[in-house]
Amino acid sequence: MMQFMLLFSRQGKLRLQKWYVAHPDKLKKKITRELITTVLARKPKMCSFLEWKDVKVVYKRYASLYFCCAMEQEDNELLTLELIHRYVELLDKYLGSVCELDIIFNFEKAYFILDELVLGGELQETSKKNVLKAIAAQDLLQEDETVDAALRDVGWL
């Protein structure tokens, strides 16, 4: 099970955080800070895995952004790399050749996509198509509501 996922920039700025374990805010901040420092200090030649406290940290850098997952001891770290890659592919498809800025400005979308891919720290959908379909359908639902509300507001509905 994934305990948490962090996205952060090469400068150490947090871009996304998803926690599947209940920690107080203070602890989350401490873990985030320490882990970012540890990962950023690693040299490019080093492998993507890191035994850190009681979790296995799997991280991978895509352009200026680090994707970093904390997994439990029994989890397959190579598969976690695939999971990260899958997430990147989805972001790429949804936001169109994604870059760090896209994720900053559309962070809520990035969360929505992650929530359709992973639930409670475990993978819920292995088909890219299904994830994007679910996101698109929900976006449409939101759009309909906006139109609806607008019409109501000006008294046409």
Binding site: M1, L14, L16, Q17, K18, W19, Y20, A22, H23, P24, D25, K29, K43, K45, M46, C47, S48, F49, L50, E51, K53, D54, N76, E77, L78, L79, L81, E82, R86, F105, F107, E108, F112, D115, L119, G120, G121, E122, L123, Q124, E125, T126, S127, K128, N130, A134, A137, Q138, L141, Q142, E143, E145, T146, V147, A149, A150, L151, D153, V154, W156
Partner: protein, 876 residues
């Protein structure tokens, strides 16, 4: 939208509607809040942290005011902004209730952002959980699948035990939903619920099995995940699910044999995510079950041979397959296949795959050593890998592979590794080398040589027990070996002293000082030329020193300001011994002068030694030759034979299995050397009552005591001399008191008696360690049955201690459970507590050995002590 009906301009679109809406609202309300996008821009435009803070604070103040005014129109946007601010690290808890209001809204947009906020801002300590449980319950019953989806997703992320209990039945109902989108999410929710509250598992069992009959991969993978959790949860459920092995095998087979399906394909492999999950479940089901293992042998072989290995995905599946093959009762041919796959992994270009291979080999090495041995050369190559994690794994694996046959070759590689390795490896690596050498040494000479090399290469990173064990080995060796040892160590000592590297190699200096002190006569005598000093590389770098030169080197070291006190103690005593080993009057005079200077040394312990030893050149000169005679051979430590000394050790850090073993050995060794020094009453008697002929053993005992590794580097000598607080070092003071003070001096009270027991029944508490403002107290309280609860409290007055680790050991008949410590970092005025549960069915007197390690400003400190004055009625 049907704009034409109202006769409106046909060119109207969403943008114009939005504009109209915005304008309409602006007219009646306060101005439109900044859009999320604009806020992000503003924050990013801030040049300094202070500027950013001011933007954020302004916006937060505004958001708070809208919350107060119950503004529901812009709530969604404000929460979104707040979430961004939260990610930057600013407090955002004041948005928690607003999130709940959003969730309660009928609009999907509100719900989507509201649930996102709930997942980010709430953790399970929040009181708002009761409120959110109601919202979730409503939404789990919604007609819109996406609303149900949002609720399930949130429940999966933040389910507290109470929420899990309240909503389990809803989730169970949704698992049976015909809608795959809801079904898969509900299955994972059930997984999380069981994780939080294992008791709730029963109710999900009936609905779970049917998940595997689905075609949808999402439902399949979540179903497998749920079953895996259930199987790990209870052995009964594990048995219950044994019958699904054929189903799993069939699903896996279909995945492999099925043609290309674009939806689930990853670089030519069909749904690796699902394959890995199934392989893992098979592993759990096949473990210790011959029948189930038999049923999956074929498919595992098929996966192992048919998987494409050019990409990471293929290796991912192979890796999981290898783990399964190793864990179940698989055929031996399959095991060989698995180890060979790992062997291939070791040669892979991808460092991640090499790392995984080493890790897995490390797990399997105890099951099938010979298969792993075949890859030894590759593993040794990995010691040179640029990646530190790979080097660490390779080192651990290499030590696991050392045996009687390959010890010479392996040690050569490992010693080379020790020399070039990073500081963090040296302690572990050197003790592992020492252990392996002790276990598999092909000859005594080789063993000694290896120990000397470790001393030289590990420097100060060497664990302190190695010093005493090396000395023991030299002491019990043949005379020729002892001379050889003295000569070898002299060469190293001289080189370190001349090159100024002695401070980095204090353990070496200590062993060398002891050895030269004992066998210095052999070192300088003609006889030494008869001993071959040619080493493995065919070099003989030994030059026989003159007595005078040896003393010069000692003087240089003793007057160095950087050597630790205990190293100097070794040197000083050694020098005194040399006065009887060296024959010329000039040398003796020189030694006397050096020793006299210590009579006014600033350190009280050294000063006392200086004064005492200088007496041996004056008033008690006639005692000197007898007192400083060579020590009798020390008994080699055979810890496991002594039942009483065998100690159980539990460690508080769960992830370091290897160091644990070392720590255990270390503690056992420590306890034995301690016992050597602990026979204090006997020598006391000799010292006070016997005449000089028999007292020659005493200083030997004294030097034996100096080896006691439990005395910290800078033992609190003042305390020793005055209070006798530290039991392990007390005999030294007692002995000397007896020897040099008038015989009638009353003995200081035995340290164990100094602490009086409290009134029976009340909580017993003692300070057991106290040094440099760091204090460890242990309190004991009786518990039900033959058990007691001990609580150790550590406090520090001045310094912040990091990596604080508390270890404890008890005699074998007693069982010790250590709870997790309250922390590893101790700030001044702070406290770390560690609870220990001691079960003592035989009611043997409790002895507790504790060991505390921590870093002060990056300097590691290690202390240990033994407590044996627990109240006798603790277990009644």
């Amino acid at each position: 939208m049907n704009g034409s009906e109202s006769g409106f301009n046909p060119a109207f679109n969403i943008a114009t509607i939005k504009q109209v809406v915005n304008e309409a609202i602006e007219r009646v309300r306060m101005p439109t809040p900044t859009r999320l996008r604009d806020l992000i821009r503003q924050i990013r435009a801030a040049r300094t942290a202070a500027e950013e803070r001011s933007v954020v604070n302004k916006e937060c103040a505004y958001i708070r005011s809208t919350f107060r005014e119950e503004d529901s129109v812009w709530r969604c946007r404000n929460i979104a902004k707040l979430l961004y601010i939260h990610m930057l690290g600013y407090p955002a808890h004041f948005g928690q209730l607003e999130c709940l209001k959003l969730i309660a809204s009928p609009r999907f947009t509100d719900k989507r952002v509201g649930y996102l906020g709930a997942m980010l801002l709430l953790d399970e300590r929040q009181d708002v959980h009761l409120l959110i449980t109601n919202c979730l319950k409503n939404d789990l019953n919604s007609n819109t699948q996406f609303v149900v989806g949002l609720a399930l997703c949130t429940l999966g992320a933040i389910a507290s035990p109470e929420m899990a209990r309240d909503l389990a039945s809803e989730v169970e109902r949704l698992i049976k939903s015909p809608n795959a989108y809801i079904k898969k999410k509900a299955a994972l929710c059930a997984f999380r619920i069981i994780r939080r509250v294992p008791d709730l598992m029963e109710m999900f069992l009936p609905a779970t099995r049917s998940l595997l009959t689905e075609k949808n991969h999402g439902v399949l993978i979540t179903g497998v995940t749920l079953i895996t959790e259930m199987c790990e949860n209870s052995p009964d459920t594990l048995n219950h699910f044994k019958k699904i092995v054929p189903n799993l095998v069939r699903i896996l087979k279909n995945l492999i044999l099925a043609g290309y399906s674009p939806e689930h394909d990853v670089s030519g492999v069909s749904d690796p995510f699902l394959q890995v999950k199934i392989l893992r479940l098979l592993r759990i089901l096949g473990k210790n079950d011959a029948e189930a293992s038999e049923a999956m042998n074929d498919i595992l072989a098929q996966v192992a041979t048919n998987t494409e290995t050019s990409k990471n995905v293929g290796n991912t599946i192979l890796y999981e397959t290898v783990l399964s093959i190793m864990d179940i009762k698989s055929e031996s041919s399959l095991r060989v296949l698995a180890v060979n796959i790992l062997g291939r992994f070791l040669l892979n270009n991808d460092k991640n795959i090499r790392y995984v291979a080493l890790n897995t080999l490390l797990r399997t090495v105890h099951v099938d050593t010979s298969a792993v041995q075949r890859h030894r050369t590759t593993i040794l190559e990995c010691l040179k890998d640029p990646d530190i994690s790979i080097r660490r794994r390779a080192m651990e694996l290499s030590f696991a592979l050392v045996n009687g046959q390959n010890i010479r070759g392996m040690m050569k590689e490992l010693l080379a590794f020790l020399e070039r390795s990073d500081a963090e490896f040296k302690a572990h690596c050197s003790s592992a080398v020492v252990l392996a050498a002790e276990r598999y040494a092909p000859s005594d000479k080789w063993h000694l040589d290896t120990l000397f090399k470790v001393l030289l290469k590990a420097g100060n990173y060497l664990r302190d027990d190695t010093v005493s064990s090396t000395i023991q080995i030299i002491s019990s060796a043949a005379t020729e070996r002892q001379a050889y040892g003295a000569m070898r160590l002299w060469t190293s000592l001289e080189q370190s002293a001349v090159s100024g590297l002695a401070t980095e190699k204090q353990p070496l200096i200590q062993v060398a000082a002891w050895t030269i002190g004992e066998y210095g006569d052999l070192l300088v005598s003609e006889a030494s030329s008869a001993i071959s000093m040619v080493d493995e590389d065919g070099v003989d770098d030994f030059v026989r020193p003159t007595e005078e030169y040896v003393i010069d080197i000692y003087q240089k070291l003793l007057w160095s300001t950087q050597l630790s006190i205990s190293t100097k103690e070794f040197l000083l005593l050694s020098l005194a011994k040399l006065s009887t080993r060296f024959t010329t009057q000039a040398s003796q005079e020189k030694i006397r002068v050096i020793i006299d200077t210590f009579g006014s040394h600033i350190h009280i312990e050294l000063q006392q030694r200086g004064v005492e030893l200088s007496q041996l050149f004056r008033q008690y000169g006639h005692l000197r030759p007898a007192l400083l005679e060579r020590m009798p051979a020390m008994e080699p430590v055979a810890a496991p034979h002594r039942d009483e000394q065998e100690l159980d050790l539990s460690d508080t850090s769960p992830d370091h299995t290897k160091p644990d073993q070392d720590a255990l050995l270390d503690l056992i060794n420590g306890s034995d050397s301690l016992t050597n020094g602990d026979v204090e009453h006997q020598p006391e008697q000799i010292a006070t009552t016997n005449n000089n002929t028999s007292s020659n053993d005493i200083l030997d005992l004294l030097s034996g005591l100096d080896l006691t590794p439990s005395v910290p580097a800078a033992a609190p000598a003042v305390l020793l001399a005055n209070n006798n607080v530290e039991p392990s070092a007390a005999p030294a003071a007692l002995l000397l008191d007896g020897l040099f003070a008038p015989p009638a001096t009353p003995q200081p009270p035995h340290p164990a008696d100094a602490n009086e027991r409290n009134a029976a029944g009340a909580e017993w508490e003692r300070a057991v360690l106290e040094r440099g403002g760091v204090r460890v107290c242990v309190s004991a309280r009786r518990a039900a049955g033959a058990a007691a609860t001990l609580t150790a409290r550590a406090t520090s007055q001045l310094h912040t201690l990091t990596d604080f680790l508390f270890q404890a050991a008890v005699p074998k008949k007693i069982q010790l459970d250590m709870m997790s410590p309250s922390g590893t970092t101790l700030s001044p005025q702070g406290e770390i507590t560690q609870v220990l549960k001691v079960t003592n069915p035989t009611k043997t007197p409790l002895r507790l050995r504790i060991r505390v390690s921590y870093n002060i400003d990056g300097t590691p400190v290690l202390e240990q002590t033994e407590i044996n004055n627990f109240p006798a009625d603790l277990f009644n």
